[in-house]
């Protein structure tokens, strides 16, 4: 039994406060009441090796260390739960929020306490209506029970929590764009520095944390750093929500130790490839990650040991590409998404991504030339981290660049055969551009 999902049932129901408390919920707050200081929580989280589950894998303890603390620190400070989850292929945060909403409330209170931040926002993507409903109920229950809105027993710390439903846009998941969205502005990212930890929501110190990351906090406080580390098979502490989608026998989600291999996920948990198709490649965690192919399947999946030349783990929810799916069509679908979701702030992303999508469309329709291949390559080079304003465009280039590497012959075949050898369904592709 792994901590995050132990009480989540697969029948789609969720626990109310009473059941949550019965199962040991809100117990971590008693440790605070018993005298655990904010800096103790911070230290514990640092020692646990917890790394952000939003895709970046940044060590949470390190992130917290930049938040100004002490009596002279600016007030108020904010904790924001990033529940935007719009990365295609990713659905792990939804499972947690729908299945056990109080876990997030407890995690938020814990983060708030650790950073002496008295206000929290849950930034939820607009399409997650069920999550919104359940979180609203959980928040109301927590207010009624005094976990929210009142000083925690034995402390002067009081936490307020609000739910914000977004109006859609992938870029809202980027933490600084998210902050602008929360301020009721266009979700355009902000330049860093200054980092949100010092200048964030309404100019105040703010920590943005992925939903799954926050779910870990109460367990770390309850069971300690060593226990948490022992859950994992590698350096990074804890378990991870993994998921598989695509043509496999049992698509789904599982909480597993960090360091579980892709092969294990694919073959054991997802039951292997569906009938009649063979494995061709996978994106390990959402579409902003690079392709992994057969030879990479035995890498342990975590943040610190993932080989850089292969890519990144991302969100841990993998998308499987089978041999009946056209890699060009696959990447075209991704790039159309990215082009549509660019915020429009910086030139390379705003103008480059639609160009890339149109080029891929030309491949798909048999109008591409070998010059187009070099134009695609040019974009993978120029839309690199640091060249664009935020991580969206570089994320968009990760699958394209690796596809050009692993599936180059497919691209070339589209040029030589004048169209997509897989597809008779070009009509569907028209729709998106």
């Amino acid at each position: 039994m792994y901590p995050l999902t132990q009480y989540i049932s697969r029948d789609g129901t969720s626990r109310l406060l009473r059941e949550y408390v019965k199962g040991g919920g809100y117990r971590s707050l008693q440790r605070l009441t018993a005298g655990m200081a904010p800096k103790d929580v911070q230290r514990l989280v640092g020692e646990s090796g917890l790394r952000g589950r939003g895709g970046g894998g940044f060590p949470t303890g390190t992130k917290w260390s930049f938040v100004p603390m002490g009596p002279n620190a600016p007030k108020p400070k904010y904790i924001v739960a990033n529940g935007d989850e719009m990365e295609p292929g990713t659905f792990k945060d939804r499972i947690l929020m729908e299945g056990d909403p109080h876990g997030l409330v407890e995690g938020m209170i814990m983060a708030g306490y650790a950073l002496d931040a008295e206000v929290g926002y849950i930034f939820l993507r607009g399409e997650y209506h069920l999550s919104a409903q359940r979180l609203n109920q959980a928040i109301a229950e927590a207010y009624a029970a005094g976990y929210l809105g009142k000083p925690l027993p034995g402390t002067t710390f009081r936490f307020d929590l609000h739910l914000h439903s977004s109006a859609g846009r992938y870029i809202c998941g980027e933490e600084t764009a998210l902050i602008n969205a929360l301020e009721g502005k266009r979700a355009v990212p902000r330049a860093k520095p200054p980092f949100p930890q010092t200048v964030g929501l309404w100019g105040q110190p703010t920590v943005v944390q992925n939903i799954e990351t926050l779910y870990n906090l109460p367990h770390i406080v309850n069971h300690g750093a060593a226990w948490y580390r022992s859950l994992s098979r590698t350096q990074d502490g804890g378990t991870k929500m993994f998921g598989v989608s695509g043509r496999v026998i049992r698509p789904g989600w599982w909480e597993l130790p960090l360091g579980t291999t892709a092969r294990e996920l694919l073959e054991q948990h997802a039951g292997g490839m569906a009938e009649g198709v063979r494995f061709r490649g996978l994106l390990p965690g959402g579409i902003s990650t690079a392709f992994m192919i057969e030879e990479h399947l035995d890498f342990p999946l975590d943040f610190s040991s993932f080989p850089q030349e292969v890519g990144r783990l991302g969100t841990g929810t993998m998308i499987i590409m089978d041999d009946r799916t056209c890699p060009v069509g696959f990447v075209l679908n991704l790039e159309k998404f990215f082009a549509r979701e660019s915020c429009g702030w910086c030139t390379p992303c705003r103008e480059g991504l639609p160009w890339v999508a149109k080029l891929l469309m030309a491949f798909e329709e048999g109008r591409a030339t070998s010059d187009d291949l070099s134009l695609l390559e040019m974009h993978t080079k120029w839309l690199a981290p640091g060249h664009t304003f935020c991580g969206l465009a570089p994320g968009a280039m990760a699958p394209l660049q690796s596809a050009l590497k692993y599936f180059r012959e497919d691209f070339e075949r589209h040029i030589t055969t004048g169209g997509c050898p897989w597809s008779t369904k070009s009509a569907q592709l028209r729709v998106l551009v």
């Binding site: 846009r169 266009r186 902000r190 330049a191 520095p193 200054p194 010092t198 200048v199 309404w202 100019g203 082009a339 549509r340 979701e341 660019s342 915020c343 429009g344 702030w345 910086c346 030139t347 390379p348 705003r350 103008e351 480059g352 991504l353 639609p354 160009w355 149109k358 010059d371 134009l375 040019m378 120029w382 640091g386 060249h387 664009t388 304003f389």
Partner: protein
């Protein structure tokens, strides 16, 4: 100072800059779009990428945006790095994916920053072969044309319009590559500074609509340095002409005055020069019967005729003008003699100006330039309605409120150029800005606190502030506790500031507010602060005229009435704007001969026996003294056809023709060139002694050459008159300035008053200003920003002003009627420009709602107001900001000549009320 290494060469730079500004300051060409020296960096366009290296061993380096990277000591970068160059070319390529290919016919062509940057990066071939997106354009009113297809999404327009200028009706809509910059719906852009979009937009999305109506390529324009004649601030402009038509007015950078921006009155008000009401030929009525028409005459006969009348005159009255140049006024003064020279303004205005001069002459506090105002960290405005009376100063105050929050920005170690970060850190925090007056405008959204009250109460607030600051300053008895608290809060804020600024003005006609402002400034000075004072004056040369001295218009009227004179010379002045009709009529009727020198027909010219057609500002040389006491030179752009001459020249010709040269110092009759006029002017008052230093004299040459007004690339000159003659006529000679009406002459660095067009090879747009500055955004190289004629000499405050007015008491039947200036409508000259005329609101009377009720009026109804001998049709506006017992009258052309402030019995004056409700 820091050292940075660019392409292996070391440069000394200011480490408070970013790398882009640092490089541009050293003449290193780094292309950019979204950055602007006055608006900082946001890192959106990615055009300014350079390669940064960790140290001299680092061979690979990484691309950084130079605008977002501090110029820290030891920073090592390469602009020429092949990867950086290729990336920059790529940025242009991306921008061109959707940009039209119409440079040759685009009206921005030739001064397009995008064009310049494209050439700079070397991007040449279009590789994208997909269709371009297109947009619908909006109708944005008489000033601005909109052509969205040219947009490169640099976000500068919204950043200027909203963040810098406080506008709200322009924004960006949509997302990804479907962005639209415009209004919610078609309609006039409301903000008073919208015209700057023309220069802010790096391509041709927002262009000057008035220019479009008589379009000419930038390189075909003949240009010269102008000073805006439309208010007292003296913004520097470039006036441009072709074929005898003034084509446009653009901003001319002056670090101490207007910097990069103008207001819309200044930019679009120029077309009075092309007006159909221009007087182009001398007109003479030979008999004494004023019902007979005037006949056109040639110049020499007109002079003869006029001289004859002057010789025979039993006393001449010379009426000067605050919109005429100093030289023209001095010429008139010289012709008629100082005793017979009258300032051409009413007595009240003369008194106010006199008070202001005295405050500067005797007090220890200096006046504030616009630049000082931008830098002020606490501001108190006592009276004036800045948006309407001195718009560019309002824009400066919008920047000043950012000063104090910068402390927090510094604490957070955010560089001040990092605009987006600064805005995020500052959020809604604003430095202290207090405004007291009798009218609410949108500027009040930015105040710390405001106070709407009668001028006397505004003055009392000011006196109370002074009393709270300086123990010796007189205090105000019987103040309400609210006002006392407000005064205390203001005093605290001013005392807390490093560079407090106090602003008052002549607009409301209140002497007491001026005195109160002086007391506040003096009290601050006494407390060891470094305050500055700013007085908004009525017109472009009000300060210059005040320095010359002379009686008021009322005195002139007396002189004629009492028979001390029978001949009048009116210089560039419509007396009907300055005194009531009956008085002016009586004055003009009584005078035997009325001569008017002016450029446009108006009610006074209608009475003249002799009209001498005067050159307008852009057709003449002259000097204006702005409200801070800064003398600035403007130059002739082109020679007007017909009998048009500069006013000072007419006067000097008259002096010669009459052989009358009453005043010895100025010796008007001997003037031949503008330099003569300048030297003479320098003699007439001690404060004018430095007139000669304002700008180089006519004999100034560089490498033995004059400075051309035409661009190096002026095309088609030889064919301009080919339908008339095959010979290219010689250009007019210019003996008055170092400039020439040609394209031949010296090209190279110039003293700043002689720079008309900013241009450097590769920099054809207005962004070329950067190449004229040592530090980008700072002063021009060897800038001559005009000469401040009034610097404080006193170290101690003179005696405090002590006549504190009584609190304003509403009267039972009478209302105190006050003027409400209108940015479009109150200035005599700009009103005659069609684009401005389109923006002039209908005249209205504003009343407090309770007064409206007392008068049984309805909001938005129309009334007829019979007053001072005329009936005016006015809309009624209920405004809670209009103090009870007072009315505000909008000063638009229909009501010009109404004498306010004055008491009025509205029960009596409102004759009929047509209950027309506005839709």
């Amino acid at each position: 100072m820091a050292n940075i290494i660019v392409d292996n060469k070391s440069y000394a730079v200011d480490e408070r800059q970013n790398l882009l500004a640092a490089c541009l300051g050293h003449g290193l060409n780094v292309p950019y779009f979204c950055w602007h020296p006055a608006m900082g960096s946001v890192g959106a366009c990615r055009q300014c990428a350079v390669k940064q290296f960790k140290d001299d061993k680092d061979q690979s380096g990484r691309l950084v945006m130079s605008c977002m990277t501090p110029a820290a000591n030891g920073t090592r970068i390469s602009i020429d790095d092949p990867e950086a160059k290729a990336f920059r070319a790529s940025v242009i390529e991306w921008l061109m994916v959707n940009h039209p290919h119409d440079c040759p016919v685009c009206d921005e062509g030739g001064e397009c920053h995008l064009q310049d940057m494209t050439v700079m990066t070397g991007h040449v071939y279009r590789r994208s072969r997909f269709p371009k997106r297109t947009h619908r354009n909006q109708a944005l009113g008489p000033f601005i044309r909109h052509e969205m297809n040219r947009c490169i999404q640099c976000y500068r327009c919204v950043r200027f319009y909203r963040d810098y200028a406080g506008g709200r009706d322009l924004n960006v809509f949509g997302a990804h590559d479907a962005l639209y910059f415009g209004r919610e719906q078609d309609g006039t852009l409301e903000n008073e500074f919208s015209g700057n979009l023309v220069e802010i937009c790096p391509t041709g999305v927002f262009t000057d609509k008035t220019f479009f109506h008589h379009y000419t390529r930038k390189w075909d324009l003949q240009s010269a340095q102008s000073i805006c004649p439309h208010c007292s601030l003296g913004c520097n402009t470039t006036a441009s002409e072709r074929s005898g038509t003034l084509r446009r007015m653009t901003n001319r950078f002056n670090s101490q005055v207007n910097g990069y921006f103008l207001c819309d009155r200044g930019r679009f008000g120029y077309e009075y020069v092309n007006s159909e009401y221009r007087i182009k030929h001398p007109l003479v009525r030979s008999g004494t019967d004023r019902t007979k028409p005037r006949m056109p005459e040639d110049v020499s006969r007109t002079l003869e005729f006029a001289a004859d009348r002057l010789r025979k005159a039993c006393g001449i009255v010379g009426i000067g003008s605050p919109r005429a140049s100093l030289e023209a006024n001095v010429a008139l003064r010289g012709l008629v003699g100082p005793q017979q020279f009258y300032q051409g303004i009413d007595e009240q205005e003369r008194q106010l100006l006199f008070t202001i001069l005295n405050v500067f002459r005797t007090g220890p506090v200096p006046s504030a330039s616009l630049h000082d105002a931008e830098q002020a960290d606490a501001v108190l405005v006592l009276g004036p309605d800045l948006l309407n009376e001195a718009p560019r100063l309002a824009l400066a105050l919008l920047q000043s409120i950012r000063q104090q929050p910068m402390e927090r920005v510094d604490e957070l170690k955010i560089p001040q150029w990092d605009e987006a970060a600064v805005r995020n850190a500052v959020q809604n925090r604003r430095g202290p800005l207090f405004m007291a007056g009798h009218r609410q405008t949108w500027l009040h959204e930015y105040t710390t606190d405001h106070y709407f009250a009668a001028p006397d109460d505004v003055a009392r607030l000011g006196f109370a502030v002074a009393g709270s600051i300086g123990p010796e300053a007189p205090t105000v008895p019987d103040l309400s506790s609210d006002v006392r608290d407000l005064a205390q809060r203001i005093a605290d804020a001013l005392m807390h500031a490093q560079r407090p600024l106090i602003i008052a003005g002549t607009g409301s006609g209140s002497q007491a507010t001026l005195e109160a402002a002086a007391n506040v400034a003096w009290a601050l000075h006494q407390q060891g602060k470094h305050p500055r004072l700013n007085f908004v004056l009525p017109e472009a040369n009000s300060a210059g005229l005040a320095l010359l001295g002379g009686g008021s218009l009322n005195d002139a009227f007396d002189a004629i009435r009492q028979g001390k004179a029978d001949t009048v010379i009116v210089l560039e002045n419509d007396l009907y704007r300055r005194a009531d009709q009956a008085n002016v009529n009586a004055f003009l009727d009584k005078a035997q001969t009325v001569m008017v020198i002016d450029s446009l027909e108006h009610r006074t010219t209608a009475h003249a026996d002799v009209i001498l057609p005067a050159a307008t500002g852009p057709e003449s040389n002259g000097t204006f003294v702005n409200q801070e006491g800064r003398a600035q030179r403007f130059y002739q752009v082109f020679v007007q056809n017909g009998g048009v001459k500069e006013s000072w020249r007419w006067l000097s010709d008259l002096a010669r023709a009459t052989s009358q040269d009453v005043e010895r110092e100025s010796r008007v009759a001997t003037w031949r060139t503008f330099d003569d006029a300048v030297s003479a002017t320098a003699m007439v008052a001690p404060e004018l002694a430095r007139m000669g230093e304002v700008a180089p004299s006519a004999s100034f040459r560089l490498v033995g050459q004059k400075i051309p007004r035409q661009s190096e690339r002026c095309s088609g000159r030889t064919s301009l008159v080919s339908h008339l003659t095959m010979h290219e006529p010689p250009p007019p000679a210019d003996q008055d300035s170092p400039l020439a009406f040609t394209m031949e002459g010296y090209r190279g660095p110039l003293p700043s008053p002689l720079i008309s067009q900013f241009w450097t090879p590769g920099w054809n747009s207005i962004q070329a200003v950067n190449t004229y500055q040592n530090e980008v955004g700072g002063p021009l190289r060897d800038e001559m920003p005009g000469v401040r004629l009034l610097e404080p000499v006193a170290t101690k405050a003179p005696a405090w002003f002590t006549s504190i007015p009584h609190a304003f008491q509403p009267a039972s039947r009478q209302w105190l009627l006050l003027p409400l200036s209108a940015v479009f409508g109150s200035d005599e000259l700009s009103n005659r420009s069609p684009a401005i005329a389109e923006r002039i609101a209908k005249p209205f009377l504003s009343l407090h709602p309770s007064d409206g009720a007392r008068l049984s009026l309805e909001n938005h109804s129309t009334i007829d107001l019979a007053w001072q001998g005329t009936t005016y049709s006015l809309a009624v506006h209920f405004e809670p900001s209009t103090p009870v017992g007072m009315g505000g009258l909008s000063l638009v052309p229909e009501v010009s000549g109404v004498r306010v402030p004055a008491w009025i019995d509205l029960f009596e004056a409102i004759k009929t009320e047509r209950k027309r409700r506005a839709a």
